[in-house]
Symmetry: C2
Subunit: 355 residues, 2 copies
C-alpha cells in the first residue's frame, strides 16, 4: 500500500515518475545500460543533463543573463559557498526567519561581517519581519523564502535596490511563480520540490560570477568553475539529475509552475480552512505569511500531538511529527502530494477530533 508521506524532505515524489524510473533503471532506452552506468561525457547522459537545465530555465522563466548550475552538498554547502563567492566589501545582511536562515547567517559570519537586518525571533518565527534598513554597502541581503520548520513564507519578495538579493528557496522553489530577475542568487536543495536528495540548484546573475577574491579559492569552491563547465567540472550526480529531469517533465505536465501554484493554493487551503475551524488543532504561522508547502500545527498538548502522529501513521499518513527543534505537528505538502492526500488527512483529523 502506498502511504501519504508528509515528510519535510526528502519528500514524496510523483508516482508516474517513480514508475518510469523503475522501468528504465536496468536499461535506459537503447543505451544497453542504466543511466547510473553512463559516462558523464557520453552523448546519452549529456542529453539528460542539458534537458534538466533547459527545463529549469523554462519552468522558472530564468532570464538569459543568469546561469543555472546543478551542484551537490545541499543548502548547507551553499551557506559556505555564498559568502566565499560573493564577498567584495566583506559585508552581508541577513533576515532571520527561522533555523535555516539563522544557520546561513552564522556560517557566513565565519567568512565575512554578517549583520541581522531583521528577525522574527521575538515572535518565535511565526511571522515574516519587516526589513527596515539594508546596509548600502552589503555584498548581498539573504532571505529564506519559505521556512520549513515554522511554516512561514515571504508572500512579497523585498526590493533590495542595488544590493543583490540572495534566497534560500529549498522548500519553496517551483511551488509558486517567482520573478527570478529580482534575485542575485537563488539556491535550493532538490529533495523537496526538484527531485531526490543529492542535487542542489544554484541560479546566479552572471555579473556576480566575477569576483577577484573568489578567483583565488580552490576551483571546486568557485561558482565560476561550475558555471563555465555547464555543471560538468567534476562528475555530476548523474542519476539524481536524471530523476530531476523526470520530475521537471512531470511538473510541466501539471501546467508548469503557474499551474502547480493554483493546485498548491487550493491544497493548502483545505488544511488551513480546517485548522481555522477546528477546536482541537491550531495552526502556528500567522495567516498573513502562511507557507503553501509546510503547515505546522498542534493540539497544544504534547501527549495528544504524539498520540495523533502515532494513530495517523497506522492509518497510512507518515511523518506528521514536527521538526525535532520545535515539536508539535507538521504536514509538508510539496508539489508531489496529491490533493486527495490532504483531503484524506483532514478527514482523519476530523475523526480524531470527534473522539
Amino acid at each position: 500500500m502506498r502511504i501519504y508521506n508528509f515528510s519535510a524532505g526528502p519528500a514524496a515524489l510523483p508516482v508516474p515518475v517513480l514508475e518510469q524510473a523503475s522501468k528504465e533503471l536496468v536499461s535506459y532506452g537503447s543505451a544497453g545500460m542504466s543511466v547510473m552506468e553512463m559516462s558523464h561525457r557520453s552523448k546519452s547522459y549529456e542529453d539528460i543533463h542539458n534537458a534538466a537545465l533547459e527545463l529549469l530555465r523554462e519552468l522558472m522563466n530564468v532570464p538569459a543573463n543568469y546561469k543555472i548550475m546543478m551542484l551537490q552538498g545541499g543548502a548547507s554547502q551553499q551557506f559556505a559557498m555564498i559568502p566565499m563567492n560573493l564577498a567584495k566589501n566583506g559585508k552581508a545582511d541577513f533576515v532571520v526567519t527561522g533555523e535555516w536562515s539563522n544557520r546561513a547567517y552564522k556560517e557566513a559570519s565565519k567568512v565575512l561581517s554578517a549583520k541581522i537586518a531583521a528577525t522574527s525571533e521575538a515572535e518565535k518565527f511565526g511571522v515574516i519581519p519587516e526589513i527596515k534598513e539594508i546596509s548600502a554597502d552589503a555584498d548581498y541581503l539573504h532571505i529564506c523564502t519559505n521556512n520549513t520548520i515554522c511554516g512561514t513564507r515571504f508572500t512579497q519578495i523585498p526590493d533590495t535596490g542595488k544590493v543583490p538579493l540572495v534566497a534560500d528557496m529549498s522548500s519553496g522553489i517551483l511551488s509558486e511563480v517567482f520573478d527570478v530577475s529580482k534575485f542575485g542568487l537563488i539556491y535550493a536543495g532538490a529533495q523537496k520540490n526538484i527531485g531526490p536528495a543529492g542535487v542542489t540548484v544554484v541560479i546566479i546573475r552572471e555579473d556576480l560570477l566575477e569576483n577577484e577574491k573568489a578567483a583565488k579559492l580552490p576551483a571546486f569552491l568557485q561558482y565560476k568553475t561550475h558555471a563555465d563547465a555547464n555543471s560538468m567540472y567534476n562528475t555530476p550526480p548523474t542519476y539524481a539529475i536524471y530523476m530531476t529531469k523526470l520530475c521537471l517533465e512531470w511538473l510541466k505536465s501539471q501546467g508548469g509552475v503557474a499551474g502547480i501554484q493554483k493546485i498548491n493554493e487550493a491544497k493548502a487551503k483545505i488544511l488551513y480552512d480546517f485548522l481555522d475551524s477546528s477546536s482541537l488543532f491550531k495552526g502556528i504561522a500567522a495567516p498573513s505569511h502562511r507557507s503553501l508547502m509546510n503547515i505546522p500545527f498542534t493540539t497544544g498538548d504534547d501527549e495528544k500531538d504524539k498520540q495523533f502522529t502515532k494513530e495517523a501513521a497506522t492509518e497510512g499518513f507518515a511523518n506528521l511529527g514536527g521538526h525535532r527543534l520545535v515539536g508539535g505537528l507538521r504536514a509538508s505538502i510539496y508539489n508531489a502530494m496529491p490533493t486527495e492526500g490532504v483531503q484524506a488527512l483532514v478527514d482523519f483529523m476530523k475523526k480524531f477530533e470527534a473522539k
Copy 2:
C-alpha cells in the same frame, strides 16, 4: 541488449544490483514509499545508511580509530577540503603520477605550501616514481593509488613514517586489499567501485580530525562536522547511499575485497597477456606498475584507434576511447565488469587484428 561498458566512471554496476533496485524503486519493502522519498531521519533510511557504513568498515577492515564518512562532491571537492582540514604547519608533499594527482597538488597550492616530492611526468606518467625524500614537517604526503588515465598503480604503498599518508583511491578502492592503518586519510568518489556518482567516501584517522585552524572553517567544510554527525549533518544523497549499500552487499557475496582481488587479477591478466602478445595493440603503462582497473592501450595510429573504438561500439563494447587528454584506447574493468566481458573484448581485438 546489455552491452559491455568499459567506461572509466561512472561505470558498469552489477546487474543483480540494478535488478533489485528496479524492483524496489517505487516501493521499498513495507515502507509504502520509495527510498528516494524517505526522510533521512526515518528509521527505514537510517538502517540503510548505517548498513552502508558498516559494510565499508567490514569490507575494508577499517580499524576502530578511523571514522568513515559518506560525503558529496567527489575527489574534486576533496582537493579543497583536505588541505583546508589537515594544514597545521601549512606544508604538504605530493607525488604527481598523472592528471588527478596533479590537480590535487595544484588545488592544495591555493591553501598551503605544496611541494612535489616525486613525479613521473618525464616518463609521461607511465610508471610510479620513487619517493626519495619526504619533508619531515609536511602535514601530509598525497598519492593517487591508481591512475585512471595512464593506467598505473602503486603496487607498494610507501612508508611515510610520521607524516600522514593521504590517498586518492577513487579508482582503486575495494578492488584490492589495502592496509588502512598505513593511511591517515583515504578518499574516493563512488562512481567506479563503490556505487553510483553522487557519494564520496572519506576514511580518516581520528587524530586528524582535531585541528584548530579547521575548526574556524564554515561547518560544512570541516570533516569533524560530518564525522561527529555520522554523515547526517545535512541531508545525505540518500538514494546513492542505498545503491552503495546494494553494491557493497554484492561485493561481499563475491568473497569481499580479497575475493574480488583474485578475480580482478585474473581478469586484467587476460587483457595484459593479449597486449603483450599482440603485434597491433600495445599497453601504455610499465609492467611493474600496471593498474588492475584501467588498461590504456593503442595501435600507435590515431586513425586506427578511432576505427577500433567505432567498430567495437557496434559490437556492444562501449566507451573504449582513451581519456580526452591523452587519446588512444582504454578499457576500464572495475569490479562489476564480468570476466566474460574482458574475454569477449580480447576475442574482438584478435578479430580486429586479424583483418
